[in-house]
């Protein structure tokens, strides 16, 4: 088995009495886009800080590119690009000064790729960061993360504040990056960009891993949604007693069913009621994720 880009084993972090992350075990293969999803406060940023050796795990361990994220953080930082979730730039430094100084600090002499990135993202280089909009600061943050062509990119909410054009440009850049065999670890609380880009996703909630799989497998695991239309109104009880069936919206002769059990009895029941139309598809991933995100309010208080 090749060395994982990221591998965590029972990784946990506690702040005082608060358990921000509990026994997280995930593996990210090289050359993948890995989506790390969860609602606000789920523990995504805490995980990322431990992957970068910015915070020390309370339990377990994190390996990044085969290196211990805490003990060997200098080498990890050499090979990783990082975009913080709450990007804070130096207010009085211009974009150009940020790029120049951070490139020098990394020992980078060739700034041609940084220049290309600045052009692609139309980065405002000559104004101090304090005068930049949220989107323009974010674009500068992306350049700082990508400019040294790292083997692994750890990006926390990377498209926050970007307009749709720049989101497209970002997605192209991510695809180019993985096409070169590099890896992108993408944290987000929004599903859209993750399902467009990610090969695999992990979902955490209240500091615990809820699911990890490929986007396609997750899609397949969503309930089948059947929308049937009949000539006459039908009683929902006809379907409600069937195994694995939940009756959803109902409007006259139209009824929506969510099916997680065997489908044949459902189709038989529909066929017996003289249907005029039937539409079947898997539920949107959004619905699955909303379902997974939902939890008792008492468990919500988590540090992120």
């Amino acid at each position: 088995m090749s060395t994982a880009a990221i591998e965590t084993s029972l990784l946990g972090k506690t702040y005082g009495e608060t358990r921000a992350l509990v026994e997280l075990s995930v593996r990210v293969e090289p050359g993948q886009v890995f989506g790390f999803l969860g609602p606000n406060g789920a523990g995504k940023t805490t995980t990322i800080r431990m992957l970068l050796g910015l915070q020390r795990p309370t339990t377990g361990e994190a390996q990044v590119l085969g290196l211990d994220a805490w003990a060997e953080s200098v080498e990890v930082h050499r090979r990783v690009g990082y975009l913080p979730g709450e990007l804070a730039l130096y207010p009085r430094l211009s974009g150009r000064q940020h790029v120049d100084r951070f490139a020098r600090a990394r020992g980078e002499r060739d700034l041609s790729f940084a220049g290309q990135l600045c052009e692609r993202f139309a980065v405002v280089l000559d104004r101090p960061a304090r005068e930049l909009s949220k989107g323009n600061r974010q674009k500068l943050g992306l350049v700082l993360a990508f400019m040294h062509r790292p083997e692994l990119l750890i990006l926390d909410e990377p498209t926050s504040g970007l307009d749709p054009l720049m989101q497209d440009e970002f997605e192209r850049l991510v695809r180019e990056t993985v096409a070169e065999g590099r890896t992108v670890f993408l944290s987000s609380h929004g599903l859209d960009e993750v399902q467009r880009l990610a090969d695999r996703v992990a979902l955490i909630r209240s500091g615990r891993l809820v699911a990890t799989d490929t986007v396609e497998s997750l899609r397949q695991s969503t309930p089948l949604r059947i929308e049937a239309r009949f000539r006459r109104p039908v009683e929902p009880d006809l379907f409600a007693h069937l195994e694995g069936v939940t009756v959803g919206a109902r409007d006259g002769g139209r009824i929506t069913l969510q099916v997680t059990g065997p489908i044949a009895p459902v189709l038989t029941a529909i066929a017996e009621r003289d249907p005029v139309d039937i539409l079947s598809r898997h539920a949107d991933l959004d619905e699955l994720f909303l379902e997974l995100y939902r939890e008792p309010a008492a468990e919500d208080a988590r540090a992120d």
Partner: protein, 262 residues
């Protein structure tokens, strides 16, 4: 580049450093230029000679009308250490804990440099800022020769160095507290309180007899309050100040290596 972190902080603080240095230089020039008007004033000498409390208040160990006494009473025993401590304690609190609270430190901490290197570079940036301020004052004190303020170059260099070390001591202690707690306010408060206590102890110890032996516990005693301007700093002065600076630097490094950053 290995010095980029120090250079970045110096660049960001260049305006305040220029302001501090320029302000202190102008103040020094005014002080030395006024000296001829007071050099034969016997009433000033009487004032401090007959009242040890007033003498302690001004930080004067001899007479005010001598060049050394004049410089001590107006610059080295009070105003310069105060400005020096404002500079170093302020930077000590901001450089690690403050930048972590602002969120900019994670950009630095994600660079391929050891945390100990970050601390050492920031300590170097602090030393350079303190040296600039001390040097600006020293230059204008030496210009004081044209106004009869004749003190030896060696003694001016010596007290400039001990003032710099005094600033470094409290600045690095503040930095260490910031690295331990991650809180700029705590670091600033604790650093300032320690400096004020040290100053008070140094001042009171010279007038309150039972406190006299405690003067050794004040870093002001080892830097400016033991007549260093006229006798030059001793090896013991340098050793104490340097030892405190190194201990504080070590403590800051140890604490920062364990600090959870944001």
């Amino acid at each position: 580049m290995p010095t980029e972190i120090a250079r970045l902080d110096l660049f960001l603080r260049r305006r305040s450093l220029i302001g501090y240095s320029l302000g202190m230089a102008v103040y020094t020039l005014v002080v030395v230029a006024l000296y001829p008007a007071f050099e034969h004033s016997t009433s000033l000498d009487t004032l401090v000679k007959n009242d040890a409390t007033v003498s302690a208040l001004f930080g004067v160990t001899g007479t005010l009308s001598t060049p050394g006494g004049w410089l001590n009473g107006n610059i080295y025993a009070n105003f310069l250490p105060l400005l020096m401590l404002l500079l170093t304690i302020g930077y000590g609190a901001a450089s690690l804990a403050g930048q972590d609270e602002d969120g900019t430190l994670c950009l630095i901490a994600a660079l391929p440099v050891r945390r100990a290197t970050v601390v050492v570079e920031k300590a170097a940036a602090m030393a350079l800022q303190a040296a600039t301020l001390a040097a600006a004052v020293a230059v204008f004190v030496l210009i004081g020769r044209f106004f009869d303020v004749t003190v030896s170059v060696a003694n001016v260099a010596s007290i400039s160095a001990t003032t710099l070390l005094l600033g470094l001591d409290f600045g690095l202690v503040t930095m260490a507290i910031g690295a331990r707690t991650g809180s700029r306010a705590t670091a600033l408060g604790a650093g300032t309180a320690l400096a004020a206590a040290s100053f008070l102890l140094g001042s009171l110890a010279s007038v309150v007899s039972w406190l006299h032996p405690a003067r050794f516990a004040s870093l002001f005693y080892w830097s400016v309050a033991d007549n260093q301007i006229t006798r030059g700093a001793s090896l013991a002065d340098y050793a104490v100040l340097l030892a405190v600076a190194l201990a504080a630097l070590y403590a800051a490094t140890l604490s920062f290596r364990r600090l959870d950053l944001h």
